[in-house]
């Protein structure tokens, strides 16, 4: 653990900021329908937390906190959640069309408030799950592939 990753300075700073970065990512996702950003941008920021952990502490630490199996499941869950939200629109009483914003129709809410845009925030959450986990998977798989072909790691 001690000899992996970067210097103690980087590790300490990473330890301080990782929570804030994650909070910022969640903010971008949840306020996606009101401010610039949304599911994709927020998801990228969430994935970056784990990328930062990989860079600072080494891949074992990042994989201990976000296992590949979990990431893969979340990836599928995000996509399925998005699809289920869309398909529910077809169900007769809720609106009748694929992707109908049935929540906004039943309960529009006040514009520019957090609970206002119907299914759009829910879709943003689904997209964020999908983007965060698949971007992390892409990154970590590229890291692992490099290791397999690195002759120094064989010992």
């Amino acid at each position: 653990m001690a000899d992996k990753g970067m210097t103690p300075i980087v590790k300490t700073i990473t330890g301080w900021v990782k929570g804030f970065i994650m909070l910022f990512g969640i903010y971008i996702v949840l306020y996606g329908h009101l401010t610039p950003g949304g599911g994709f941008a927020g998801g990228v920021i969430l994935a970056m937390v784990f990328v930062l952990l990989t860079l600072a502490y080494g891949r074992e630490e990042a994989l201990r906190r976000f296992r590949i199996g979990v990431a893969s499941e979340l990836d599928s869950i995000g996509a399925l959640m998005f699809l289920v939200i869309a398909i529910l629109g077809i169900a007769g009483t809720l609106g009748g069309k694929f992707f109908t914003n049935y929540i906004a129709k039943a309960n529009p809410g006040t514009p520019f408030e957090l609970f206002s845009a119907g299914i759009i925030p829910l879709c943003n959450i689904a997209i964020a799950l999908k983007v965060a986990s698949s971007l992390f998977l892409v990154f970590i798989l590229l890291v692992l592939m490099r290791v397999i072909h690195d002759p120094r790691e064989k010992a």
Binding site: L80, L83, V84, I87, G95, K97, F98
Partner: protein
């Protein structure tokens, strides 16, 4: 018409569901995938003869101006949906036992269904940018599927396919972007009513971009370099899907849709399509002649047969387009059959090299018989399906007074016969070679799928009977041939 978005939503949903529940249980994955393709096939059958426009989220057109994204179900879409669903259903049956030798079956089905969702989307969409998105979904899934074996040769083929496929996608995206800059709209119907068949120089540039982009996806010569590597490297069911359906959906169909319904066909475009089709037809079969790898041979032959379809679509009369679409579905059936046969041979003997086969007819009667039927159909021997579609393409060319093209089409048919007789002799008849001893007939579901396709090769000729033709082929040809009426049909002007 609530069923329309489900053509995309169901395969997409199951594609993400399978890796969650069936990663360690291959039989569950088999069941789910087969039920999905069966359901899609039944859904496709149920929409024959129906038309409809589906506005996503209920955002319909306002005073004939589209606000939202739409899916369009018309003659050609139904035709493509049926083709895709039919082949994918039989291919998933084949995959049950064929894919047992690979690990990670759940991932295979996930990618397969993702590709299916992309193709159904391409067939249904009424929006140019969505066309690009669905096309990329189908393409990216197919890049991964080509590399599925993860051997050196497969990865190399997949990389080549990835690079050339991305070049094609980029050209299409450029075309879409310029169209958007010109018209301020991406809805196909709206763009078509704005352009209105009057082509300025910038439109010709867009036409050139679309022909090169979709030509790359359809592997027309001179854009074909990736196909003979990519199609043989994939597992056999995927080769069957790629050659049988994918190059037609995201290549030929998408090109025809954009050329006829969105930009409007002109004599120049039409002539370019005919020339590209004829060159692919002739060069494809000549390149196929010299191949010793059975799947590579079939891949080159696909280029040649797609050339027939593009030639017929390029002629542009209603009869010619109907004949071209008829050949499209016929080719989907017999080329899938032949690729599944080659997969069966590889499964039983471990080789794809024609020099190592010979007399396999004695050891593999079902594979041999079905392959013989497939070969006769593709070579255009009556009464098999390929004969009728090629005959009607030639008649259509003669009717349109394109005698030269008709002669080429007839000549290539003879060359195809020669090429496939060579395949039959070297694989199933002729002398014994080392693969003979280890060969044995393949398991049940693989046989069932091949027999099903072989029966289709015989009965598909009946699609041209007046009753079937009027409900299935002619409505499809009518949509393309009526060209820019597409806009008024959709926006209700």
């Amino acid at each position: 018409m609530q069923i329309i978005p489900l053509f995309v939503a169901i395969p997409l949903g199951v594609a993400f569901f399978i890796p969650m529940v069936a990663r360690k249980r291959p039989r569950v994955a088999d069941t789910l995938a087969n039920l999905t393709t069966l359901a899609l096939f039944l859904m496709a059958i149920s929409v024959i003869g129906k038309n409809g426009v589906y506005w996503m989220g209920g955002w319909g057109p306002f005073k004939h101006v589209p606000l939202g994204i739409n899916l369009v179900l018309d003659g050609v879409s139904v035709f493509m949906l049926i083709t895709i669903a039919l082949i994918s259903f039989l291919v998933t049956i084949y995959s049950i036992q064929y894919m047992d030798k690979f690990t990670a079956k759940a991932r295979f089905y996930a990618l397969f269904l993702l590709m299916l969702a992309g193709m159904n989307g391409v067939a249904l969409t009424g929006d140019l940018f969505n066309l690009y998105v669905f096309l990329e979904i189908a393409s990216i899934a197919s890049y991964a599927l080509v590399a599925f074996g993860c051997e050196h040769e497969e990865l190399e083929a997949s990389f080549k396919y990835l690079v050339l496929g991305s070049v094609g996608s980029t050209l299409i995206l450029f075309g879409v972007a310029i169209t958007y800059a010109m018209t301020g709209n991406l809805n196909m119907a709206q763009v078509s009513s704005i352009i209105g068949g009057e082509l300025k120089p910038i439109h010709l540039f867009v036409v050139a971009l679309f022909i090169s982009g979709f030509g790359l996806k359809a592997a027309l010569i001179p854009f074909h370099a990736w196909l003979p590597d990519a199609h043989p490297s994939a597992p056999a069911p995927i080769s069957a899907m790629l050659s049988g359906v994918l190059i037609k959906t995201i290549g030929v169909y998408a090109m025809a849709r954009v050329m006829f319904n969105v930009i409007g066909i002109t004599p120049l475009t039409s002539y370019v399509l005919m020339v590209l089709g004829t060159v692919s037809m002739v060069v494809g079969v000549l390149l196929a002649m010299g191949q010793d790898d059975i799947k590579r041979f079939l891949a080159y032959s696909s280029i040649s047969q797609v050339g027939y379809v593009v030639l017929a679509v390029g002629i542009g009369t209603r009869f010619a387009i109907a004949a071209g679409l008829f050949h499209l579905i016929n080719h989907a059936v017999f080329k899938s059959l032949l690729f599944l046969n080659s997969g069966a041979i590889e499964y039983a003997t471990g080789t794809r090299d024609l020099n190592k086969m010979g007399r396999l007819r004695e050891k593999m009667p079902v594979t041999s018989t079905t392959s013989f039927i497939g070969s006769m159909a593709i070579a255009g021997i009556p009464p098999f399906s390929g004969f009728w579609s090629k005959l009607f393409i030639i008649i259509a060319a003669v009717q349109a007074e394109r005698y030269g093209f008709a002669a080429w089409a007839a000549g290539v048919s003879v060359l195809t016969l020669a090429a496939f007789m060579r395949l039959q002799r070297r694989a199933f008849f002729g002398e014994r070679h080392e693969a003979y001893d280890s060969a044995k007939e393949v398991p049940g579901t693989m046989q069932a799928s091949m027999v099903g396709l072989a029966i289709l090769c015989i009965v598909m000729g009946f699609l041209w009977l007046p009753q079937a033709r009027e409900t299935f082929l002619i409505p499809a040809a009518k949509v393309l041939q009526e060209g820019l009426n597409y806009a008024s049909n959709i926006l209700g002007m």
